[in-house]
């Protein structure tokens, strides 16, 4: 008797649960529709258009691989691909070198939560001005008659202005590092702040000096932060065009700049080729970074 009541009781509740799960799936609907319309469809379009036939003034939906061949045989475009990768790796390294110690200070050595928040907010303050102004503000800093050169000459450290400061790889790297560094600091500081101070004290108590503790405890525990930060920075830097346009004097051409130029001259098929290449690179970079650390364990 009791058995039957129990089994009768279970069946409707299991069915109810399944129904509830089905209803819950509808919560995804707006997001799925949005992503299909504005992400998946455009990407498919982009791949499709990259095989269209492009003439000087027109574009026709006749499939051809001409644009692709053109991209991979042109020294200019392969050069831009290489520049993009070089600048990306340099900026990534620079944001880690500048960002990690900052995050270490904020996340580990400042144990007052209020002060921690204040310091992180300070990192975001530059974002209160517009992106273009932040980029362009580097010009009067780095230029031939800019602040840095004037100071160096005034102090007698250099005789002539250093011209390599502006309109070079260096100025692009400096500008990008300043803009994207905070995306590295945030995730790392977050992971570091989660480390239990007792864990570090325990390592100390077991006889390890700071160097050892950093290598064996702090660094491994903060790696998820580094990976998340690297994904943020990589995705943004790989798609960049404004910083290099403003600070390189058109000397540094990234894939992003090429897309802008091609779209400007209505070369849709070619712009689509570059877009596909860029998307594939980003996907590969994110996939590679996710292999470094199992983020599922950290969530």
């Amino acid at each position: 008797m009791a058995m039957t009541t129990a089994s009768e009781g279970v069946a409707p509740s299991a069915a109810r649960q399944r129904a509830l799960q089905r209803t819950a799936l509808w919560l995804l609907a707006p997001g799925v529709v949005w992503m299909l319309l504005f992400l998946v469809l455009p990407i498919l379009m982009m791949v499709y258009v990259s095989f269209w036939t492009q003439t000087t003034f027109t574009i026709e939906p006749t499939l051809t691989t001409k644009s692709w061949v053109n991209f991979f045989t042109s020294e200019t475009y392969l050069g831009a691909l290489w520049t993009t990768i070089r600048i990306w790796l340099t900026v990534l390294a620079a944001t880690i070198v500048v960002g990690y110690p900052t995050a270490l200070f904020v996340g580990l050595f400042v144990r007052n939560k209020t002060l921690q928040t204040v310091l992180l907010v300070l990192c975001v303050i530059p974002f209160w001005t517009s992106f273009l102004i932040r980029v362009l503000a580097w010009r009067p800093m780095l230029g031939k008659e800019g602040a840095i050169n004037l100071i160096l000459q005034g102090l007698g450290i250099t005789d002539a202005p250093i011209e390599a400061l502006l309109f070079s790889d260096l100025s692009v790297v400096i500008g990008m590092t300043q803009i994207y560094c905070v995306f590295m600091v945030g995730p790392i500081a977050f992971m570091l702040a989660r480390i239990d101070p007792n864990v570090i004290e325990a390592a100390q108590d077991l006889g390890a000096g700071f160097g050892r503790i950093f290598r064996t405890i702090i660094l491994p525990l903060s790696m998820p932060g580094v990976v998340v930060g690297a994904i943020f920075v990589s995705v943004m830097v790989l798609g960049e065009f404004a910083t290099s346009a403003a600070l390189s004097g058109r000397k540094v051409n990234l894939l992003g700049n090429i897309i802008v130029t091609q779209v400007g001259s209505l070369k849709w098929a070619f712009a689509a080729v570059v877009g596909v290449v860029l998307t594939v690179i980003m996907g590969a970079v994110v996939a590679a970074l996710l292999r470094v650390v199992d983020l599922r364990k950290e969530l």
Binding site: D196, V199, E201, A202, D205, L206, G207, T216, P220
Partner: protein, 357 residues
């Protein structure tokens, strides 16, 4: 017995708060010392000063014959077991335990030696079979063992345990008590065990230290602490004394609850004036109680009682609202039955009371 750790006049303040106030302490080698104190008595700070996580404002700490205040924690060679275990979350059980051997300063140990030592300590604390588990995949009791093993493998002469059973359930706590004492005896090192539980302190310590507002209230063998607490504050932490404040006359203690005649031979301890009677030294009689010449009696109203298995704890309220607790051990008598809101006489022998002048 040799002294392994000596604290001389150690003080530490946080702003206006004196966390440690002139602590003098000598911890004997090869013994189990428990440090009892209520929360806020400075017991964790004291441990952290010894371990080197905090530096004292004044005073000296001498360990193994050399002065160690000012020495960084990783060069002190004192083990510390944290209340929350503080295991390295990204490392396996074995890697947690071998951490100290592999990462301490100085020439690295031969990997074979490390392996042997780790295997021996895993055997000692009973973690066989869990070597490759992550420390997030084992139970609380097992984590406690890893924390202990990780410290013991570095062979410290002194191990500090900060409320080591705080995160364990009652059942496990009882089992770990005996086990911890057995492990210590096998290794012949000193354990300094901080706890807020008086039963744990009395059960585990060869010596019990009572910490009272940043000072050492008493340091004695467990039964001395229990039967002859050095001050009213110590008596209060032990959670088994009824304390009365008042003033001391020539032949009696005068408290708001009444006048308690003193026996001629009563020793007067410092730290008062206060008068203390243990819960289980009070006898309950119907009011008005008849008393012998060597007895003291007051009257109280029965409020309620609490059954603890081996004994019954009964609460009586006095005229001024103060509550007196009486403990009846059930091995002596049948469970007492008192009528609620009924008045009873509470009687004890004059000699059973402790008087603090």
């Amino acid at each position: 017995m040799t002294t392994v750790l000596q604290l001389t006049n150690v003080s530490k303040s946080y702003g206006p708060l004196k966390a440690l106030d002139g602590v003098n302490l000598a911890i004997p080698g090869d013994s189990y010392v428990s440090l009892l104190g209520p929360s806020g008595s400075g017991k964790t700070i004291l441990l952290r000063v010894i371990a080197g996580f905090e530096e004292p404002d004044q005073g000296t700490v001498t360990f193994d014959g050399r002065r160690i205040d000012g020495t960084p924690a990783h060069r002190r060679g004192i083990g510390f077991v944290f209340q929350n275990f503080a295991l390295f979350p990204h490392l396996s059980v074995t890697k947690n335990i071998s951490f100290g051997l592999e990462n301490r300063e100085g020439p690295p140990l031969d990997p074979r030696t490390v392996r042997d030592k780790v295997a021996a300590v895993i055997d000692l604390v009973g973690l066989k079979g869990l070597e490759d588990r992550g420390v997030t995949q084992i139970s609380g009791g097992q984590r406690q063992r890893v924390a202990l093993a990780r410290t013991l493998v570095t062979e410290p002469r002194l191990v500090l345990l900060d409320e080591p059973f705080g995160a364990l359930d009652a059942n496990l706590r009882m089992r770990m008590r005996t086990e911890l004492r057995a492990i210590r005896e096998r290794l012949g090192v000193t354990f300094l065990h901080v706890t807020g539980s008086e039963t744990e302190a009395l059960a585990m310590g060869d010596t019990v230290i009572v910490l009272d507002r940043g000072r050492i209230g008493q340091m004695d063998e467990p039964d001395t602490v229990y039967n002859r607490p050095a001050s009213p504050a110590v008596a209060k932490f032990l959670n088994c004394y009824n304390l009365f404040e008042g003033s001391l006359a020539s032949d009696a203690f005068v408290s708001p609850a009444g006048r308690f005649p003193l026996s001629a031979s009563a020793t007067r301890r410092p730290g008062g004036p206060a008068y203390a009677v243990r819960y289980d030294r009070i006898e309950v009689r119907p009011a008005p109680a008849e008393t012998a010449p060597d007895e003291v009696a007051i009257e109280g109203t029965f409020v309620t009682s609490e059954y603890t298995g081996a004994s019954v704890l009964s609460f009586f309220s006095l005229a001024d609202g103060r509550v007196v607790e009486v403990e009846d051990h059930l091995s002596h008598r049948a469970p007492p039955t008192y009528a609620p809101q009924q008045r009873y006489g509470l009687v004890w022998k004059r000699d059973a009371a402790l008087v603090f002048a």
